[in-house]
Symmetry: D2
Subunit: 386 residues, 4 copies
């Protein structure tokens, strides 16, 4: 459990960091939603604030005055237990509340939580606040990837910032890290914060296998494209093959072929592809097809967690072959907070690792990220196993 | 033909008025597109500017430097002959160019056209400029109705302005204005400006009929609702009935039933419905069903044009029974300007009159407005005939 | 008014002819519905029978025993006033009642109506029966065109019959038949049967124009294709252009390009296109674009009706420029029969003439056929005006 | 490996049984496809025949004369490597080839394979033929469930047969069968036939748990409905909740509430629900929600396979919590046969057991059936674990 001082520090830092992510934006950038998966930055700012107001201030702080009663309708995401909310795909249709008003809302709630931390010495509330902070950190990652989509989908391909380096080269030699057959422990078991989906440390039996110490690079993926990997149905799941053809997929998201050369949109603007950096912005379907083409496979999340001491990770979320399922003895929390993870445990794949968009200290070796198999706007990459 | 002075005055006034319409907006309001029919205000500002640049400055003014080459892609509407353009339904996904940049673009083009008017004494260019001014005036009407939709679709129902009165009571007694059977002349034939779709003054044969001197009021429409008009398929076209059921239509657009009373969103915010003012924001399907219910019918556009001296009009566009078709000997202009009207002459209905959103002097007795039969976000009303 | 004998003859002949149309079919052909517009032959057989049962036998013949109570649900088309019915697009999902059962149903109702004609000397019933016969004749045309679609959409392209000649050459020289400016009478006014939409003989004022004495031929349409008519947006309505691109339209329905030569599916199987026969199976959009390309236009239905003495017609329905609207003083019948025509009078175009699929004596110079602008599975052709 | 005699017997028996399943059908029933998942019986008859022709006769039997070259296009299912095929959702639009022709095709290919078995003593061919037989047996199950859907979706609710008993009561007491924590072996390892997805016998580590010896009954499911289980989002996955609301799901497939009592369509026609028989025709989403409501969970496929000796199974496929994923060291076969299983290993759930529709001896304890999470037309039931 954190001390009041460290919690306050953690809280204020997180709130400030969310706003720092938005600092390079024009007002207009806060508003749009080019596809349903991508929420307007304004919405992230409001929603991560509403979470503190709805689950801490309203139910637990006597005399708290709600900032604006209409905001619950606007900034609730999907918490069915909390009431009506704007359809997810309609978030980009709302010009009001204005960005300025949303920042006022943030300041108002930040102040109120600040007061709670300083004045209430209540571990239960501290736990809820810590949960709210981690919730906001998760949204920081979405916020940055959504901003990238908003700008990268604009025909003018505007720059976000020159200061953020999206990728770094993987120049070490490829090696295969062996895992011996046997029983291994999986899941979170320290005192530190974790989500409920990592809990329930348990044993799994693994067969002998090997995992690459290196992420797949752009160069390797270009070879896959040149070898007509996107046209060879034998490499794909049936559902992946439909997805490729229906959406006319020919390259990773943000890639542009200009006069025979590959470029990609990055937060620094349009750049020529650096062949030695890891591939990213691919779906699970593409990761699987690539592995098939290469004659290997993706690791399971258990293999990954077991072998992760042997390689460096954290610059790309890595698709695993594992479906997102509850660990043995998983129990979801009661009420709205119970909606956090459990209800997504179907038809999604686990990703392990972290990315340039992941807030510092927000990930760990047991962290289970998850997305549907067709999603590409996160910084998703490939590590092979065999 | 206008003098250079009067043309300049007309031009600058129009440019200023477009911007005045946007004056009450927040930056965020310029960006959103809640449905495909409704364009972001920012787009109207840019598109009405692009029209001058594309059809006058670029082809006819040597040495003219285009403001930004990417803008043609962003601000072209549908002129297929002019090249690629952003899909209409994607306009609301574009945060850039920023509103500030669009105003810079406007100032730049306004200045350039100003110079053309002052320096080139060229009737052909003057005609094109007059066309561009009328084009911008048409967009002024869409701009205001689109703003109303953007704000009226927002759950916070924000106010646009207290200064604009949307409707006025029709308190005079209902009378039926007779038209005698016979031959009448239809269409524009003065020296003044008109669109190509009004030209070709020609004869039509009308049967004896009568037209109401009064628009249908909210009170009458409430009676239609109370008599279950929306549930009685006998009153509807088959296509209208499908539209009602598929979209769950139960009242005009912007109407809200709150505790048994009818309110509607107006540019002045949410207001109780004034029973003596004309009904508006209804589709052709609803206008037709109402007339059926009342035992009357809608007038044809020829009846309307013939009888219009006998009643006051201009506060509501009035649905007619006439399909939007070319007049005898209609010729569309060559090239991109020819795309202006002719290509919409199918599956739409003619509306006559004008509305609170119509710029001053922009309408006339021969003016043919047109919309698809399900559209409701314009200020559309009903005048009966029998 | 017909005599009982002639009515009986007319009735039995019509019933027999419907079944004769189905004679070449396999049982399987009676069941399928490849697109929503095309109903299974079994459904036409049942529906034209249900019409007699529902509107004559059930309400007017005491003691009549309904053949099967479930059939009303299955064979009602769209008569909302008569109750629930199977969704139009679900007709092809019904394997039962079997074809044999439907023929039993036909025999049962034919017998019952036969008895009514012989035993009840009641002009009101005779009028209703005559209406039912004409209704069945309309369905005969749809039945044949639907069969053509079912077979022509099958990859095996099966033959319907060798005995039916779909088209005949137009070998006479092209001439332009003039219409003098002036007032003309339009609409049905004889004692003979007509639909309500033709009634209300009235005057229209026509401008001077000319109509071709010849239908547009396949040869001319091939020239349109070769001149890239389908790729030239200037020839199309905006809605037509969307339709062409969304559906990837490159030729009339049933046309196949095989090794550089044009073939089309006919009721006699796949045949090489005969260049001198009239073009058919085109939408209004295509008819309009062709006329634009040729520098002419389509006639209005009034021009067509006025000039029709001057040319031969009846082998192809001819698209007109006229929207399908009520004539002055049009009154729709009360109740379900009133649903017959009036509720379709929006967003459709009038076709005049007749086709190889039209039952003998079913058409006349005042007959107003109508279809939505994108439909192609009827025998629709083009006659030009200028 | 089977002897020629036993293989021939197995082959001929299987071919005969497929046709016996169709014996109660009318010709019309062979043709329709009410939803994309449900194929016309005619198609199953042809496809299971095409499989033998395509993979055995065409490539391996010199001098074999293909029955009809067009059939490959019509009866290929999804084998991309074999060439073009009719879109799955268009199968119900094909009236030809006729049912009679398809039976001729069956007889022709049955004879040819019969000859191969008798004349070629070739183990490789025998293995392929055995594969083809198992393929046809899998289609027998789909054939019966598709027939049930075709008839059960018809408003006349026709009887299939009085001789087939769909369900039997589970009257034994509920008990919980314990599984001790530890390592267990999973997967097929005998000499007998199995699919590639069961192969690779391997170890898994299970936590202690208990599995019910009884399937969930209709009575228990009615209690779930009465307790508003379908309205309580807390019981559902987010994707399941969307599915329930979008499709307005209120009960299992084929259930009808008539005057307050529950009936369901069975192959014996509409029947009152027998409360003691196992629930069936539910999706994975419903199985999961039911388990949540009951306070238990679904077993994994490994728990099921480990405990299956302790309970009787085979009258219902049982949803497991396991995603359909490859076993360790899974290798898919090369070429078209490799498309059999591997390409479906994403976004589906494993079912274990068997059903009334499963051909005798077609299932076994290691058999892995799989379907997407929303499918209900199979005989799917629920066994709980804790």
């Amino acid at each position: 459990m954190s001390t009041p001082d460290s919690l306050l520090h953690f809280f204020l830092d997180t709130r400030k960091h969310t706003e720092a992510i938005c600092q390079p934006l024009e007002i207009e950038d806060y508003v749009v939603q080019p596809v349903a998966d991508v929420s307007p930055p304004k919405w992230h700012l409001g929603h991560s604030t509403w979470f503190f107001e709805e689950f801490i201030l309203k139910p637990h702080i006597t005399g708290y005055k709600v900032f604006d009663n209409d905001f619950s309708f606007v900034f609730n995401s999907y918490y069915e237990s909390v009431g009506e909310h704007v359809m997810r795909s309609d978030r980009g249709n709302l010009s009001r509340p204005s960005v300025e008003k949303v920042y006022d809302y943030r300041a108002y709630v930040t102040k109120a939580i600040n007061d709670v931390i300083e004045k209430k010495k209540d571990n239960y509330l501290y736990d809820l606040i810590e949960m709210g902070i981690h919730h906001e950190k998760q949204h920081q990652e979405l916020l940055l990837t959504d901003i990238k989509y908003i700008l990268g989908n604009n025909p003018l391909l505007p720059l976000y910032s020159k200061n953020l380096k999206e990728h770094q080269e993987e120049t070490h030699d490829q090696e295969w890290i062996p895992i011996a057959e046997g029983i291994y422990g999986i899941g979170h078991d320290s005192e530190n914060f974790s989500y409920d989906n990592e809990l329930g440390r348990h044993k799994v039996y693994l067969n002998a296998c090997e995992i690459s110490n290196k992420l797949v690079t752009n160069q390797e993926f270009i070879e896959f494209i040149q070898d007509k990997g996107y046209q060879n149905f034998e490499l794909w799941h049936a559902e992946g093959w439909d997805w490729v053809n229906k959406n006319n997929i020919k390259a990773p998201l943000y890639w542009h072929e200009i006069k025979g050369e590959w470029f990609h949109y990055t937060l620094n603007g349009l750049e020529k592809i650096s062949t030695n950096t890891p591939i990213t912005h691919i779906s699970y379907f593409e990761a699987f097809a690539f592995a098939q083409w290469k004659g290997y496979r993706l690791p399971t999340e258990f293999e990954w967690e077991t072998a992760q001491h042997g390689f460096s990770w954290g610059q790309r979320w890595e698709w695993t072959e594992s479906a997102y399922l509850p660990y043995p003895n998983y129990k979801k929390a009661a009420g709205a907070l119970g909606e956090y993870n459990g209800k997504f445990m179907v038809n999604q794949k686990v990703l392990r690792g972290g990315s340039v968009a992941t807030p510092i200290k927000h990930t760990r070796p047991t962290y289970r990220n998850f997305f549907p198999t067709h999603t590409r706007w996160q910084y998703n990459g490939i590590r092979l196993a065999r």
